[in-house]
């Protein structure tokens, strides 16, 4: 496995206690796999990606580990992690449009960044040009200031910067959320191209919008309230969503051609539970339409087929 997450626990230390944002999360990512991580706001997906590159207070690494290419990432040790940052693990952040220093020309900033990490800009210059072309940006972008570019252009520039050193793991955190639908498609496709051209190995695509994942992800992981509720190949989860939450998510997506009067859009009632001192049991039980008494016990993530895991008592084969 290229990436192996084992029982990862990342909590936030706040005045009122610990917020269990990522709670005992385990999964694997193969090489060259694009894993889509979906879930509503606050489910822990952004915390996950940030914890891999920028774990600082109030975030706390409470337990578990992450292995990349066989090495365990020293998540809690800020200094030791630096070796991995950008070179092995890279991120396209949620705030990509503001991620560039406004008073520095882009080319100069990249050069200074690389030099500060002991690399020379000269070696990657050609590669840089090639990739800019890949995202439909002209070389002249290097001589411009960030404010001279549109939001979309800045986003693509950050994409190029983030992947410049061919990281083994790329975390794409809500990179399409702020874009219009047609640009979303273009950007998602660019990401796939990066993977296809071997510019990055594994990708975690974090979003709250599953429809995008259908198009580009190999596997999809659904998170809810800090836990994984379902993880499966895109095909499998689309054909047969098993977890009640997933089912509701998918049904709340409008189908093309279906009019409102034909079938009502079903939003999911209620809100996710507080992660401060979460109640025991399945986190989804308050909103679950098929809840029963066993749900007061936390359901384990079980494999129900080769490419499909679910955490739901309803789906798990009863012993005996």
């Amino acid at each position: 496995m290229a990436v192996s997450v084992k029982s990862l626990k990342v909590y936030y230390q706040t005045l009122r206690g610990q917020v269990q944002a990522v709670d005992n999360v385990s999964f694997d990512i193969k090489e060259h796999e694009i894993l889509g991580m979906a879930g509503e706001s606050g489910c822990g997906k952004s915390t996950f990606s940030n914890s891999l590159v920028l774990l600082k207070p109030p975030m706390k690494h409470v337990g578990g580990q992450v292995e990349l290419d066989g090495e365990t990432l020293p998540l809690s040790d800020f200094k030791k992690m630096n070796r991995f940052r950008y070179t092995k693990v890279s991120i396209i952040p949620q705030y990509a449009m503001n991620a560039l220093n406004p008073t520095r020309k882009i080319g100069r900033m990249i050069a200074e960044l690389l030099e500060s990490r002991g690399m020379s800009i000269a070696r990657v210059s050609k590669e840089l040009d090639r990739r800019l072309k890949l995202v439909n940006l002209d070389r002249s972008v290097m001589k411009m200031y960030p404010f001279e570019l549109s939001g979309g252009m800045r986003q693509r520039t950050v994409m190029v910067i983030a992947t410049l050193l061919n990281p083994s793991l790329l975390l794409a955190d809500e990179i399409t959320s702020a874009l219009d639908v047609s640009t979303q498609k273009a950007v998602a496709k660019m990401l796939v191209q990066f993977r296809d051209n071997n510019l990055v190995k594994s990708v975690v695509f974090v979003t709250h919008d599953i429809s995008i994942l259908y198009q580009i992800a190999d596997s999809i992981l659904i998170m809810y309230a800090g836990k994984i509720v379902e993880i499966a190949s895109t095909e499998s989860i689309t054909r047969e969503p098993r977890h009640p939450y997933t089912r509701l998510l998918i049904s709340s997506l409008p189908d093309v051609g279906v009019k409102y009067t034909d079938r009502r859009l079903a939003g999911i009632k209620g809100r996710p539970p507080s992660l401060l001192n979460p109640l025991p049991g399945c986190r989804f039980k308050e909103r679950c339409p098929v809840r029963f008494d066993k749900c007061d016990e936390e359901p384990p993530l079980e494999k129900i087929s080769e490419q499909h895991q679910v955490a739901c008592w309803r789906e798990v084969k009863v012993d005996g």
Partner: protein, 313 residues
Amino acid sequence: MAVTINWMIPRLMPGDPIRTLIGRAALRAEAADKVAEYFARIYGLDQPAWRQYLSFWTSLFRGDLGTSIYLSPKPVTQVIRDSIPFDLGLLIPAIVCSWIVGNKFGAFAARRKRLDGIALPIWYVFTATPYMWLAILLAYVFGVVLKIFPIAGAYSFAISPSFSVGFILNYLRHWFLPFLSLFIVQLGGWAIGMRNMIIYELEADYSRYMEALGAPRKLIRKYAFRNAMLPQITGLALQLGVIVAGAVGTQVVFSYPGIGYLLLQAVMNNDYFLIQGCFLFIVIGVLIANFVIDVIYVIVDPRVRHGMGGETA
């Protein structure tokens, strides 16, 4: 327009300069009237107001600011010219040094929480201190108790200005305490401002991203510093305008012959021309300083440069 206000102001003051001058000469009543007339004619004060205004502008262009009534018959330009070196010599180093040092310290404290906790209150106390009180304090401690520095004048009465080493040393000794009092108070302000700006920049998205990409602290700090400087530069311009008021206090305590001190004397003696001249100088000085800073700002901040040329989509 500022110049017009400048001209108007002393005129609006009640009190007759001629009378004051004559009062000092202690003449008999009728003689006094005659002399008053004479002087009024010389100084053009018997002309109707609009005439006076016009002649003001014409003489201004000739570089003639009139003759000081109080210190007559010295021409105002000369009086001001004599004090300029002392004034600028005191103010400019004080402002610039406090700006540089304040920025450095502020940036430093922004990074270390512990240092910040101690330093910040100290800086607040510095800015809260009235200039003249600090001057008094320093004068007392170093001048009277410890007797290291003199407490009056720009240089000892016995010596006259020259470029000799002796004079320069003497000048510096007199210069130090007033300089220090101005320096310390402003230092606090700059340090606080810079510290806040740096904290703000360090928390900005771009700083976070640099960190996520593994950039060393040094680089991130360098960027934060450059970006935090921009508002500090604007502040510098503003400060140049405000400082005259504070400097007056300090100059009075040390009897330091700067423009502020001069202005005060002029006011006390209803010397129209001197007041005008001083104000003119101050106003022009401030305008120039602001202009220079504006230019520097355009050079330094690419966003401003671009905003002026129009943005691309």
